[in-house]
């Protein structure tokens, strides 16, 4: 049951603006890899490249799902979702005028996920009891933390093998950030997920990370093979933490 992603030498641009340059990232099976970087360094663009929402101008993005190789750059977003790769988009991006339950059901829009919609919904409510309480409430009327839970829950409705989380901490109070990060860890362990998480919050992200990359101006500035390497890195201290 091994699922991993290999990003090889990916370039991406919006028009004439180059956003990613020769990005090479490796997310091995059952790992939690964090992508660290401040605003505007290309984290979200990389996530969108993996999902096929933004097309890289060169390079390869391969996903190995249960041992079968897929070239993601040649697939449409729907096909990528079908493979079991779920994205929790930055800023949650819920459907604010639909209820919690409808939001969750829409996570299982693809035929593969639709068959298991009942179990997945139950599992979702079990993981996030708060969502069960609010199942008929409009998503837009919930608090930021609840919305983040819903965004995670919506991604889980796919029964994903690889979970991409884009900046789960955006707009949340510190205690909610820490709870959200814990939840991601819990889900990863329980569902045996492979997780790639883009995050600005260095300390929180490293709590659950196995490895990490630092992305600066669209280039991988540093690849840390362990949390320690990231923690005791001069470059990070200088550029990122400003110490």
């Amino acid at each position: 049951m091994a699922s991993s992603i290999t990003i090889d030498n990916v370039d991406a641009a919006y028009g004439a603006v180059r956003v990613l340059e020769a990005v090479t990232i490796d997310v091995r099976a059952a790992e939690t890899v964090v992508l660290l970087g401040t605003n505007g360094n290309g984290k979200s663009t990389l996530m969108k490249c993996i999902m096929g929402i933004v097309r890289p101008s060169s390079g390869r993005i391969m996903a190995s799902i249960d041992g079968v190789q897929h070239d993601l750059t040649s697939l449409t977003t729907e096909q990528i979702v079908d493979l079991g790769i779920a994205l929790v988009p930055e800023g949650r991006r819920l459907f604010p005028k639909l209820t919690v339950e409808e939001n969750l059901a829409l996570g299982a829009f693809r035929p593969t996920a639709r068959a298991m919609i009942k179990q997945n919904l139950e599992a979702c409510f079990e993981t996030f009891p708060r969502l069960a309480e609010r199942r008929s409430q409009l998503a837009g009327s919930m608090s930021g933390g609840e919305q983040q839970m819903l965004a995670l829950g919506r991604a889980l409705m796919l029964a994903p093998k690889i979970l991409l989380v884009d900046e789960p901490s955006v707009g949340l109070a510190p205690i909610l950030v820490s709870r959200t990060i814990d939840k991601i860890k819990e889900l990863k362990d329980r569902l045996n997920l492979t997780v790639l998480m883009a995050e600005q919050n260095f300390t929180q992200a490293l709590r659950i990370a196995d490895r990490g990359y630092v992305i600066v101006h669209g280039k991988i500035a540093f690849a840390g093979n362990s949390v320690d390497e990231l923690n005791n890195n001069d470059l990070i201290r200088k550029f990122y933490l400003g110490l």
Binding site: T77, P89, P96, A113
Partner: protein
């Protein structure tokens, strides 16, 4: 069961009106009713793309006119069978031409549906105001094409001599009215089915957040193309019998501002979230306009629409449906027991207490 009630009640209401108008023996009621029903179809069609998907279409008149002109083209073809067909096919052509109104409606639907599909491919990567501008431009382009197409009359317009009588019913306008009534029920049923289906939820995700929809695996481009095609096809179907109704069709009336404005204003005033909205809006505005036409002047119609639209946008941006929902939210939550209000809400696919 709810669907059953829907069909029964819509046929009952339509049938009752028809019987009433026949009993009065006044053909004007059919003329006026036809126009109102035509706007019901147009508003419902607009709402499929504009209300459910959130893509505002300013080019409704173009789709309507394409339906109308496809009828004109087929009518002209029938009139000149000997000229336009090779000898070997003349006999066959005379057998099937001229086509009856329901067949013309299907043709009009196909033509406008294809125009809608093409528009979708060309413009759906645009969003918001840019999409709206593109549809407006489309209307201008198509009007120019029609003005320069001599076969359908060009800028001179085309006369359509309609048959004086039809079997069984007698009066031709009564026949047209019945056809439009059926079309209106079909359009409302289509909107209702979409709303309750996965397709409708897919549309709603596009309206709420297109990128999130994509991340959920909703095939957004495909759904948007379905929406433009369906919306365009229904508008074309509304336009197809129009030449037979009006008797003389010219580009500036077929592409008239009134169609574009009304098909936006009616759903907006009624409410865009449910199929009931365009129906209520079209009935309300359509009837007001008909009354204004006979009592004051037809020139005042657009003024009424404009003022009402401005008023509703300021006072009740969610339309009449939104007002009703607000009213129901206060009452329906009393004991959790379904009230007649919450039942009504469920019937109309609205969530009581929502928003």
């Amino acid at each position: 069961m709810r669907a059953f009630y829907f069909y029964v009640s819509s046929i009952l209401v339509g049938g009752l009106f028809f019987a009433f108008a026949r009993w009065l023996g006044n053909d004007y009621l059919f003329f006026a009713g036809y126009t109102v029903l035509q706007f019901v179809v147009l508003a419902t069609a607009w709402n499929i793309l504009g209300g459910y998907c959130g893509y505002v279409n300013f080019g409704s008149a173009a789709f309507f006119a394409m339906g109308a002109y496809s009828s004109v083209a087929l009518h002209k073809l029938a009139a000149g069978v000997d000229r336009y067909f090779p000898e070997s096919l003349v006999g066959f052509a005379k057998l099937i031409l001229p086509l009856n109104i329901p067949t013309l409606i299907i043709f009009g639907g196909i033509v406008s549906g294809l125009v809608g599909l093409g528009t979708g491919y060309l413009t759906l990567r645009l969003r918001g105001a840019f999409f709206a501008i593109a549809t407006l431009a489309l209307a201008v382009v198509l009007q120019t094409l029609i003005v320069n197409w001599d076969f359908v009359g060009g800028s001179r317009g085309a006369y359509i001599i309609r048959p004086g009588e039809v079997p069984i019913l007698g009066s031709y306008i009564q026949y047209l009215f019945l056809v439009m009534l059926v079309l209106a029920v079909v359009a409302l049923a289509a909107a209702r089915i979409i709303e309750q289906s996965r397709l409708g939820y897919g549309f709603a995700t596009i309206r709420d957040d297109e990128m999130a929809a994509e991340a959920c695996g909703v095939p957004t481009l495909k759904l948007k193309l379905i929406a433009t095609t369906m919306s365009g096809a229904l508008m074309g179907m509304a336009g197809a019998p129009f030449p037979y109704y009006i008797g003389y069709l010219e580009p500036s009336s077929a592409f008239g501002l009134a169609y574009a404005v009304n098909s936006i204003a009616m759903p907006m005033i009624g409410g865009t979230t449910s199929w009931v909205g365009p129906l209520v809006g079209a009935l309300l505005l359509g009837i007001i306009q008909q009354i204004a036409t006979v009592t004051i002047s037809s020139a005042i119609n657009l003024l009424i629409v404009g003022l009402l639209l401005v008023g509703f946008v300021i006072v009740a941006p969610k339309g009449i449906i939104g007002l009703v929902q607000d009213f129901m939210r206060e009452r329906a939550s009393d004991k959790g027991q379904p009230t007649w209000r919450s039942r009504l809400a469920i019937f109309a696919n609205m969530r009581p207490g929502a928003r």
